[in-house]
């Protein structure tokens, strides 16, 4: 029940993020839409898959541990990467030396 709800929210968030990736006018707003696809779509769906393994699928513990490692790694790396890329694009647009 709860993993189906999480999967539905993740799919809607990913679709809204992808549409916003087309519709938004600026790079800095498109980064927001891309991060919404990653965190709200992929990470939430991975959480739903981990819950699905833990409750109904009957698989062993390394599946859950590895999926939680993937979720933690995406949660750490995706905001830092987006911040670094936005910083570089802003410095290049304003002509400032690094």
């Amino acid at each position: 029940m709860i993993h189906e709800t999480l999967l539905t929210i993740a799919a809607l968030s990913a679709l809204i993020g992808a549409i916003g990736f087309f519709r938004l006018p600026d790079f800095y707003t498109r980064v927001h839409a891309a991060t919404m696809v990653t965190i709200g779509g992929a990470c939430l769906a991975l959480t739903a898959l981990a819950l699905h393994i833990h409750t109904t699928a009957g698989l062993s513990a390394p599946y859950t541990i590895k999926i939680l490692m993937i979720i933690a790694f995406i949660f750490i790396t995706n905001p830092t990467g987006s911040h670094a890329l936005t910083d570089a694009a802003m410095k290049q647009a304003s002509g400032q030396e690094n």
Binding site: A11, F22, F27, L49, G81, L85, A88
Partner: protein, 78 residues
Amino acid sequence: MIIESIFITTAHLLTIRTIISPTYADHVISIDTLTNIIILFMVAYSINIKNPMYLDTALLFAMIPYVDVIAIAKLVNK
């Protein structure tokens, strides 16, 4: 069924956006986002065939685009 179709549609929209995007940073951020959708498909396939081999590949796939994004962001302002 519907949820898989929505994620596949998202991946196709991100691919089209990667091709037609105007600047370099749009290419980089859309490929980074597409990689996360690919990680989700890998984990779902690994659960479907009951083989944990693809989870290690998915963990490596989570690491490599981060290095790419940081390297390109450092390379642009040289």
